[in-house]
């Protein structure tokens, strides 16, 4: 049977198959395929384009100018969002929390993934089972206990509590991705290092981790986007406005001031653009990492 879960290495090599001469030959592609691709592309980006269009319309015409291209082009909404709203603060907070989460997730998971990929030891299968199974516990099911825990440990309303929870939730995904990546690196490299007298630990850190950098980058970006987009934890663990993350900030923007669509869509554009850029630049790696078995949610 063909396997449902494909390792990162497998996907990235499969991708390069497109370059082989046999696949390059286009057997008179059916024009209907282009029609379908364009239709699918429109479905994918129409909500974004409409938001983008609205963000360039001035407040007074948002509700009267129903064209896709603004009759009068203005940057006023962006000025308000960037200089007179809390959005930049939220963006900074999100950058901080997402960055710390990525660092701590990788620092914890990379060792576990390496041990699981390379060493045979008693309890290995059980440990991995335990870790991976926690990804089946839905976040919503443990929010209340986490809230209790955060309050009683004095961590409620801190950046720290968010980083800890996001890290724990990302560890199973990242371990799984990195494990697949380590397994695609030949053993002979470690053997050579060991023969030269390096310790297991040195071989791992100095020889293998650098080779796994593309996989680490993919896992890091996927975790980063997860935190960037999360609402659940950010909304339940934080109460003060100056520590708010961007997803919650956007939602509050909507409910607090009533709906000022021009500003709201400008805020959406500002928060979405960085992630879209990352996605465009790293699309191949991200897709390969996701194919290894992770989903955002």
């Amino acid at each position: 049977m063909s396997e449902p879960i494909v390792t990162i290495a497998a996907v990235s090599t499969v991708d390069s198959r497109a370059a082989s001469p046999r696949r390059r030959r286009r057997r008179g592609t059916n024009p209907l395929i282009y029609v379908a691709l364009v239709a699918a592309s429109l479905f994918a980006i129409i909500p974004l384009l409409w938001g983008l269009s609205t963000s360039f319309k001035s407040e007074s015409v948002t509700l009267s100018d129903s064209g896709w291209i603004p009759a009068q082009f203005t940057l006023e909404n962006y000025r308000l969002v960037l200089f007179e709203s809390q959005i930049p603060v939220y963006l900074g907070n999100t950058l901080l929390v997402a960055g710390l989460t990525v660092i701590s997730t990788i620092l914890v998971a990379i060792f576990g993934a390496y041990a699981a990929a390379r060493f045979r030891f008693r309890g290995r299968a059980t440990s991995m089972f335990l870790i991976l199974m926690t990804s089946m516990i839905p976040g919503i099911a443990i929010l209340v206990p986490l809230y209790f825990l955060a309050v009683s440990l004095g961590l409620y309303d801190t950046y720290g509590v968010m980083v800890i929870i996001y890290t724990a939730w990302q560890i199973p995904t990242v371990i799984w991705m990195l494990k697949g990546f380590f397994e695609s690196i030949p053993d002979s490299i470690e053997e050579a290092g060991r023969v030269d007298g390096a310790s297991h630990f040195r071989v791992m850190v100095q020889l293998i981790f650098p080779l796994a950098l593309p996989g680490i980058a993919a896992a890091g970006v996927i975790s980063f986007i997860y935190v960037w987009n999360d609402f659940l934890i950010a909304s339940t663990m934080i109460s003060s406005d100056e520590k708010r993350l961007v997803a919650v900030g956007l939602y509050n923007y909507l409910s607090q001031y009533g709906i000022v669509w021009g500003q709201l869509t400008a805020a959406v554009v500002v928060t979405v653009i960085p992630i879209i850029l990352v996605f465009i630049l790293m699309e191949r790696r991200i897709v390969a990492g996701l194919s290894a078995g992770a989903t955002k949610g």
Partner: protein, 319 residues
């Protein structure tokens, strides 16, 4: 939390047919790295991961189960009440309505998302011009958060100003967010919009492992594109489709943010699902005991579904 669904932990990720090192399976077992595995170091490496998931995931689920069996008043945990909280879910019209709506939501979304993803993966696997551009654009909604998706679609279907808003049709004003059935429909469409990319990615990965030779052989035998798809591609993709269905089911069933930000459960509770009820009972009404009961129901569903998945995956392997 991610709805990560992986093969059983004690199995190595399978090598796809075109994996780079075909010799790696058998060789590793006899390699020096495995046989000299340092026990102390191995544990030292893996214990931090175990510790953090134990504290942040395993302990809280035990806590939630305990909480669901008690009466609560805000943050005070009161008397043991047995299954009373669960009776409020399964013994009331309100609770059963939420169960039913969750079912409609999950099945409705799957019915659109799975065929759509399958079709898109096949399209993106074609040799076409601008293939990478199409791929980036079509997968783009993956980066959009549920909150942003809700905001953008709300504006898009605004009855008065949105280009996809219905407005007045035959003298009847139709507003997606004011009619329970339309709201559910909108919720499903937006849900499909944010979730089809991941399903498409998984389908595409699976498609790319199918050797072109198989399809070419079928073509030589005179099979048209449709027959080739039905008789060669689809059977080989069955295991992947199965994974996709399970992943999406759990994602949809546990989903809170999109519903909370798009409809808030309304109108008239028309989109109030089990997952949303778990959130609102806990964090809006502070009925933490009842909220925990909802959480436990969600968790139980995840375990049952996950176990069924593992079992089926295992039996697939043995075929």
């Amino acid at each position: 939390m991610t709805a990560l669904m992986t093969a059983p932990a004690d199995r190595k990720p399978p090598a796809a047919p075109s994996a780079p090192a075909p010799e790696r399976g058998p060789r590793r077992r006899s390699s020096g790295v495995g046989t000299t595995s340092p026990l102390g170091l191995s544990w030292a490496l893996i214990v931090p991961s175990i510790a953090i998931v134990a504290v942040v995931s395993i302990f809280p689920i035990a806590y939630a189960i305990n909480l669901s069996l008690h009466e609560t008043r805000f943050l005070q945990i009161g008397d043991f009440v047995g299954l009373d909280n669960f009776a409020q879910i399964f013994g009331t019209a309100e609770g059963l309505g939420q169960v039913g709506r969750s079912l409609v939501y999950v099945v409705g979304s799957l019915a659109i998302a799975v065929p759509l993803s399958l079709a898109l993966a096949n399209l993106l696997n074609q040799e076409v011009r601008f293939r990478r551009v199409f791929r980036v654009i079509i997968l783009l909604p993956w980066v959009v958060s549920q909150t942003v998706a809700a905001l953008l679609w709300k504006w898009l279907v605004n009855p008065d100003y949105g280009p996809l808003g219905l407005g007045d049709i035959g003298g009847v004003r139709l507003d997606f967010l004011a009619d329970p059935n339309l709201a559910m429909l909108l919720l499903i469409v937006v849900n499909v919009w944010i979730s089809y990319p991941i399903a498409t990615i998984l389908c595409l990965a699976s498609l790319q492992t199918i050797p072109e030779e198989l399809r070419e052989a079928a073509e030589v035998d005179g099979a048209g594109p449709f027959r080739r798809f039905m008789q060669v591609t689809l059977p080989l993709m069955k295991p992947t489709l199965f994974v996709v269905v399970i992943q999406l089911t759990l994602l949809y069933f546990n989903m809170v943010t999109l519903i909370y930000t798009l409809t808030g459960g309304g109108p008239l509770d028309g989109t109030n699902l089990l997952s949303l009820a778990a959130f609102k009972q806990s964090f809006e009404f502070f009925n933490l005991g009842l909220g925990a009961a909802y959480s436990v129901v969600l968790f139980a569903f995840n375990v049952l579904f996950g176990a069924a998945y593992l079992r089926l995956l295992r039996s697939e392997r043995n075929v």
